[in-house]
């Protein structure tokens, strides 16, 4: 479909003409392992949701290259602003899988952040685009302190229609603060196709309204994503200049487990994109250039399945939530009102 995008590896897993890849085998394998982790997690979550263990779930199936390629660039104390479909990215950045399960269970310990986490991972934005100004503020704070940290802010194609996208990107450009605005253009916002979201053909085009550099990349090519985000952020750590990246990808699954995509898109379209599956591509690349084998692949998948299953076990073993927890964390010090309401509950209980 698209022209003028950055691609390193084509859908057959071959290096795109004129491109070189600086990554060693182990580095490529590490990216692949993360993608497999996301994929296995997506499958597990979908199954658990069907079994009634999790609430409505928005799968990132098909967007693993975009998420892994970008999130794995982050360094210590960088910031990640995921939205609700970026659970894979959050896992890559260090949120434990069991914590993500707890979030999906609607457990009181949702999004518990380990104290030794390397990257600041903000809880996923549920209100579309609301996280974008936050990322600008955090980036602004790092710039004010002359620190090299950057903020990586994810959002979907739908989010670009929101005022918050506009106000935040504009402000970042005015103040030149180090945010990577990373759009996972997965072609749909629930049932709304990209063409109904905007009259332009590419999100990357929107950068010219703000005076930002922008890049359009093959979002199903993990190496293109990784290399672009790496180059962009290395520069950004010195220049503080914000950048808009559009990763062209596709939501292979339903919008959420409550959605039936057959109402609004064709199987044909989905099939076409299935052929561009980022995992297949990465695997083909590994086989072609790094002697990756099916048996190694199976072993990897099994290892990760076990890891995800164990995480689920830990999440499921948590004691159920207790209402008393809601009265904490509203404020730093509990107010008299909340103290009283908590004690009412306890009397009742």
């Amino acid at each position: 479909m698209a022209k003028d995008w950055i691609q390193y590896v084509n859908k057959e897993g071959e290096l795109t003409e004129g491109k070189e890849i600086a990554l060693e085998r182990t580095e490529c394998l590490a990216l692949y392992e993360l993608m497999v982790t996301c994929r296995v997690f997506e499958h597990k979550a979908t199954v658990l949701q069907r079994q009634g263990f999790l609430g409505t779930y928005a799968s990132g199936l098909g967007q693993e290259a975009a998420q892994v390629g970008s999130a794995s660039v982050l360094q210590k104390n960088d910031w990640l602003f995921p939205y609700g479909r970026d659970l894979g990215a959050a896992i890559v950045a260090g949120i434990p899988i069991d914590s993500v399960f707890l979030w999906l269970m609607g457990h009181q310990e949702r999004w518990l952040t380990p104290s030794d986490i390397h990257v600041h991972v903000v809880p996923p934005a549920v209100e579309v685009a609301s996280q974008i100004p936050h990322a600008v503020g955090v980036a602004w704070s790092t710039k004010l302190r002359r620190e090299p940290q950057i903020s990586l802010c994810y959002f979907g194609d739908g989010a670009t229609s929101k005022g918050d996208f506009h106000e935040a990107v504009n402000m970042a450009a005015v103040f030149q603060v180090p945010v990577v605005f990373f759009c996972e253009n997965n072609q749909w916002a629930i049932s709304t196709p990209f063409a109904r979201q905007t009259a332009v053909e590419s999100i990357a085009d929107k950068a010219s309204a703000y005076g930002l550099p922008s890049f359009r990349i093959d979002g199903n090519d993990v190496l293109a994503v990784y290399q672009t985000v790496k180059d962009v952020t290395e520069k950004m750590r010195e220049t503080y200049q914000p950048v808009l990246i559009e990763a062209v990808t596709y939501r292979l699954d339903a919008h959420t487990t409550a959605d039936d995509p057959r109402r609004y898109r064709t199987d044909d379209e989905v099939d076409r994109w299935r052929q561009l599956d980022p995992l297949i591509r990465a695997k083909s690349y590994l086989i072609r250039y790094h002697q990756w084998s099916e048996s190694e692949d199976d072993a990897l998948i099994n290892k990760i399945r076990k890891r995800v299953d164990d995480a689920w076990q830990r999440a499921n073993d948590k004691p159920p939530s207790r209402l008393a927890s809601v009265f904490h964390h509203v404020f730093y010090s509990q107010t008299t009102d909340l103290k009283q309401q908590e004690s009412e509950v306890q009397q009742d209980g």
């Binding site: 409505t56 009181q108 209100e127 579309v128 959605d259 109402r263 809601v326």
Partner: protein
């Protein structure tokens, strides 16, 4: 008469209004081909086409603001906000714009707009999908605020809302969309805005509610009546703005005791307004302190806790007994 769920009743009202009046158009996110995330606008796209059932970009402020413009020029837009929590990013278009255009222009420009939104808790949804924000609108002059709690009302109130010459916020309790069916007349009918409904008559206490508690309040009340020998009047307010003070005052004047039940957080909720009016108008008739069973003063909780956090049968029953013993 067919037995319909509330989702079906609303769908039917939209279908019939649109068939009768081609100035009615719908706009919102995923209301067209997808029929809405709750399927409330199902089949309307097929029936009326993309000019009248419009899937918009993901832009709450532009949905609401362009709906104001549509309404200013003689159309009757029905805008959907996918979940009430997401209305906050278009809030000004309601509070400072839709609500004030009539007074700003001395009636020259008007905004016959209905804003529909699924709302309230209890379906295990993610964060921000379950908030009860009706207070914001009740506190903003120029808006009407309607909350049906059964299919019959939903249909009849929606006709009235669309016919109303002013902006109406029409809040649809999500758990009630498919909670039960009831007989709903197949024709067009108008339930008046601004009129509460006495759901159950009684002499010793008045319970006032709107929305989701409608699904369980009567059994709860009946069991307390049975256990205590008292009789309890139950009022479904249905319209939060303007409030039907008359019906409320008449009831509490008779009973002398009142409990207001709402899902919104307690502090500065609409329950406070109702109690203040009761105390202003029926001070000497009250025999016990007016009470409230509401959401606690916290952000809406995670799914595992919502049933306990929300007003529920146990909390209401306990409070009713306390009130009756006063």
């Amino acid at each position: 008469m067919a037995e319909l769920t509330m989702a079906q009743a609303i769908n039917q009202a939209l279908m019939q209004t649109m068939a009768q009046d081609d100035t009615v158009i719908l706009l919102g996110e995923d209301i067209g081909r997808n029929g809405g995330v709750f399927r409330v606008t199902k089949d309307l796209f097929e029936q009326f086409g993309e000019d009248r059932v419009v899937d918009t970009p993901l832009s709450e402020s532009a949905i609401l603001g362009s709906a104001v413009g549509l309404a200013m020029n003689g159309l009757h837009p029905v805008a959907e906000i996918q979940f009430l929590g997401f209305i906050c990013s278009g809030f000004h278009q309601i509070i400072t714009q839709a609500a004030r255009l009539r007074s700003r222009s001395l009636g020259h420009f008007t905004v016959p707009l209905v804003i529909r939104a699924p709302y309230g808790g209890g379906i295990g949804a993610p964060e921000l999908h379950s908030d009860s924000l009706e207070t914001f609108f009740v506190h903003s002059p120029g808006l009407k605020v309607v909350v049906p709690s059964r299919p019959f009302d939903a249909k009849g109130l929606l006709f009235s809302a669309i016919a109303d010459p002013d902006p109406v916020i029409f809040l649809e309790p999500m758990p009630l969309y498919r909670a039960f069916r009831e007989e709903v007349p197949s024709e067009v009918y108008f339930e008046p805005l601004g009129k509460a409904r006495v759901v159950h008559e009684g002499m010793n206490l008045t319970v006032i509610y709107w929305g989701s508690p409608g699904a369980w309040i009567i059994p709860t009340v009946l069991s307390v009546e049975k256990a205590t020998g008292s009789t309890i009047e139950v009022i479904d307010v249905r319209t939060l703005s303007p409030l039907d003070e008359e019906t409320i005052i008449a009831s509490v004047t008779k009973t002398g005791r009142v409990l207001v039940v709402h899902e919104a957080v307690r502090t500065a909720g609409v329950g406070a307004e109702i109690i203040s009016r009761i105390m202003a108008e029926a001070f000497y008739r009250m025999e016990a302190p007016p009470m409230r069973v509401c959401g606690y003063d916290t952000p809406y909780p995670v799914a595992q806790l919502e049933r306990e956090w929300l007003p529920n049968s146990a909390r209401v029953e306990r409070t009713l007994r306390m009130l009756l013993e006063y």
